[in-house]
Symmetry: C2
Subunit: 355 residues, 2 copies
DNA sequence: TTGAAAAACTGGAACGATCCAAATACTCAT
DNA sequence: ATGAGTATTTGGATCGTTCCAGTTTTTCAA
C-alpha cells in the first residue's frame, strides 16, 4: 500500500497516466460504466488503489448539476425522540445511495436559518426539516422556490405549502381520552407543553373532541400550559390539584411532562395509576422503564423518519415539488400509569435497543 | 423579492453583469474584502439579493484547497450520552465558522468505513470520530496519512497514533470504589459492559487499583460482563447474587447498566442504596430522575465534545497532525442509589435541559 | 480481404468559484 | 497640470470532474 505521506492529492489525471489510459476512461470506470473493457477497468482500479486516490465529489457535483447529499435539520438532537427520527431518516437515505448530513438547531430559529443557508450552499439534493419552535412560516420558501425538495417532519408549519410527515396527534389524544373515560374518569386535564406549539394545538383538539364525544364538556376541562419538561409537568400537576374541582386523570403533552407529573404525584404521596391516571405521548424509550411504566401514545418516530426520507426521494426522482401530507398511525400502549389492568399483548411493543 | 421560480442557478457572472462589475469584484465582495469600494459593495449585494444568488461552496472548495466542512462520526446518536457529545462538538465548530456534519454509524464498523470514505470525498477539513465497537485500529490511517486532522472522542483506539479526548475512566472508577469502601462495603462487584470494550478495560483497571489500595483483593472481586443495557445490568446482578460470596455493592459499567441493576434489585424486594450500593458511570440526564436518583460518575460529555472540536481546529490551523491526549476530569455525583447521606452541595450539579 | 457495425477509448469544453498579476482610477503634494 | 502613491477593479488561468462528439480498434458476415 504505497500511501503518500504528504497531502498533495491524487487526481484522475494521475490515475490515467499510471494506468495508461485517458482521464475520460478513468471517469468511466469510476462510475461503473460497462462501456469499458474489463481488463482496462482492472488496470485502472489497481492504479486507484496503488496511488490512494480519493474521489472528489465536489468537483463532480460542479459539473453535473445534481448532488448526492441530502440534509436533515433537527430541532433537538439531545431529545431521544428526535434522535430516533434522525436515525430513521438516515437509514432510508443511505440505502438509496444518498449521503445524509445532520445538523442540529437547538430550537433556535436563527441558527436554523444559518444551517439552511449552509445546506443550500453545499448543494443538497433535498432536505428534511423538523422545525425549531418559532420558525416563521416562510422560512423554507426560498428553498422551495429554488426547486429543492423539502419535507417537514414531526411538526407542521402552519400556512406553508410544504409536504409533511407528522403523527396523528388528534387521534392519539382521542385514544388516550377514550381510555381514561373507559376507566371511569370524568375530570380529565390536559397538562404541559407551550401554548403556542402547533403540535400541542393538534393534541388539544383531539382531546377536546374526544371529551365532547364522551358527553363531557371540553370547556370545563383543565388545560395548563407549561414548559415541556419534567419541571413543567410537576408544576402543571400542582396547579391542577389546587383547582376547585381537581381532575382525577391527565393527558400529558408528552412523555417528559408525564414523568414530571408522576414525580409530583409521588411527592404528594399519590400513586400514579391507582390514585391518578397519567397518560403520556410519544412513547420514548424511557417510558417503559419509568416507575411506574408509562401508559402513552406511541408514534413510531423512526418509521416517520423513513417515511419522510421516502417522500424527499420521490420528489428528487420526479424532479418537481410534490405537496402531500402523511399522517402517521399512532396507538395506545397500556402500561401502568393510568390504572386498570395492563393489557398483556400490547406490552410486546416495548423496546430496548441500545445494544 | 424577485425570486425565480425555476431552478436555473444564478452565478457570480450574472451578479457581475447585473451590478456592472467584473466577476472578480463580486468574488471580493463575497468574501468581505475591504479592497472594494463601499458603494460597489452595496450595488453587488443588492444584485445578490435581487437575483436570489446562492453561493456555491463546492465550486469554491475546488479552487481553494481547504474546505470549511468538518465531520463528526458518532457510534450511536440514539444514546443521549453520545448525542450530547455531538452537540458539544457542533457548538464549537459553529462558532469557529465551520460547518459540522454529523453521521451515525449505529455501532457498525462497516457502515463507519463507508461514512469515513464519504466524508473524505466531501473534502472535510477535519474529523471527530467516536468509533464504533470493533473498529480496527487502522481504520483511520488513510485519513491520517492524507493529512486530514482526526481526533477520537470518548473511545480510544488501542494501537493507533491518533489524538483523543476521553474521560478519565480509571479515576472515575477509583472515586466510585473509594466511596463504596468509605460506606463500609467490602465485597464490591463490577457489573456489565462488553468484555472486549476498551472503555470497560480502563474502568476495570481503576476499579482493581482502588480495591487494592483499600486492602481488598481485586482478584476476588466479582467481574461480570454483559451487554451494556438495562437487561444486561439486570442479568449481571442476578448472576452476582447467586455467587457463594455475594457482593454488597457494585460499580456498574455505565448508568444504563446501573438502571438495570436497580430494577433487578427492586424485583427481589431489595432497595438500591440501603440494601445494596449501586454506582453508575456517565451521569446521563436520566440519572437524576431515576428511582432512586443514581449516584454516578459524571463525565461532562458536552465539554469533552467541545474539547475535541478545539483539538481538530488547532490541527487545521497548524496544518499538521498533532498527537495529544486529553483526559477529561470526572467527578462523583452522590445521590441516593448507594446509601449514605446525599451530600447536599453536590446535588447542584444536576441538570434539566430540554427546554 | 473488405467494409459496416459494435466496442472501446479519447480530447477538449464545460461547471462556478478563487487567485494573481496587471490595468485603471483616484488623491494630493508639488 | 503632473507624477507618485494608493485605492479599486479586472481578465485570464485554474481546481478535478463529467459530458459530448468524435476517433480508433475490434469483430465478423459476406
Amino acid at each position: 500500500m504505497a500511501q503518500r505521506k504528504a497531502k498533495e492529492k491524487v487526481t484522475i489525471i494521475e490515475i490515467a497516466a499510471a494506468a495508461g489510459v485517458s482521464k475520460s476512461t478513468v471517469s468511466l470506470v469510476l462510475k461503473g460504466s460497462d462501456a469499458v473493457h474489463p481488463e482496462t477497468r482492472d488496470r485502472v482500479n489497481a492504479a486507484i488503489r496503488e496511488l490512494g486516490y480519493v474521489y472528489n465529489r465536489g468537483a463532480a457535483n460542479l459539473r453535473q448539476a445534481r448532488s448526492n447529499i441530502v440534509g436533515m435539520i433537527i430541532n433537538d438532537l439531545t431529545n431521544p425522540f428526535f434522535a430516533e427520527l434522525a436515525v430513521g431518516i438516515e437509514r432510508s437515505f443511505q440505502s438509496a445511495g444518498y449521503v445524509p448530513f445532520i445538523a442540529n438547531t437547538a430550537e433556535n430559529p436563527v441558527r436554523q436559518a444559518e444551517v439552511i443557508k449552509l445546506m443550500r450552499e453545499q448543494g443538497v439534493a433535498g432536505l428534511i426539516v423538523s422545525p425549531a419552535r418559532g420558525t416563521p412560516s416562510d422560512a423554507l420558501d426560498g428553498l422551495q422556490a429554488a426547486g429543492v425538495p423539502v419535507v417537514l417532519a414531526m411538526r407542521r408549519l402552519p400556512g406553508a405549502r410544504i409536504s409533511s410527515v407528522v403523527p396523528d396527534n388528534r387521534r392519539g389524544a382521542r385514544l388516550a381520552v377514550e381510555r381514561l373515560v373507559e376507566l371511569g374518569h370524568r375530570r380529565i386535564a390536559f397538562l404541559g407543553g407551550y401554548a403556542d406549539s402547533v403540535v400541542r394545538g393538534e393534541r388539544l383538539e383531539g382531546f377536546g373532541a374526544a371529551l365532547a364525544d364522551a358527553g363531557l364538556d371540553p370547556e370545563r376541562a383543565l388545560n395548563i400550559a407549561t414548559a415541556p419538561t419534567r419541571d413543567g409537568g410537576a408544576a402543571a400537576l400542582e396547579s391542577a390539584l389546587t383547582h376547585r374541582e381537581p381532575p382525577t386523570a391527565a393527558l400529558c403533552f408528552n412523555d417528559i411532562v408525564a414523568f414530571g407529573v408522576c414525580l409530583a404525584l409521588r411527592r404528594r404521596g399519590l400513586q400514579p395509576g391507582p390514585d391518578f391516571g397519567v397518560i403520556g405521548f410519544d412513547d420514548v424509550q424511557e417510558a417503559v422503564h419509568a416507575d411506574p411504566p408509562l401508559t402513552t401514545i406511541a408514534v413510531d418516530s423512526m418509521g416517520l423518519g423513513e417515511r419522510a426520507a421516502q417522500m424527499v426521494l420521490k420528489m428528487i426522482e420526479a424532479g418537481r415539488p410534490i405537496v402531500e401530507e402523511h399522517v402517521g398511525a399512532v396507538h395506545l400502549v397500556i402500561r401502568e400509569s393510568c390504572g386498570g389492568p395492563a393489557r398483556q399483548g400490547m406490552e410486546k411493543r416495548t423496546r430496548e435497543r441500545r445494544a
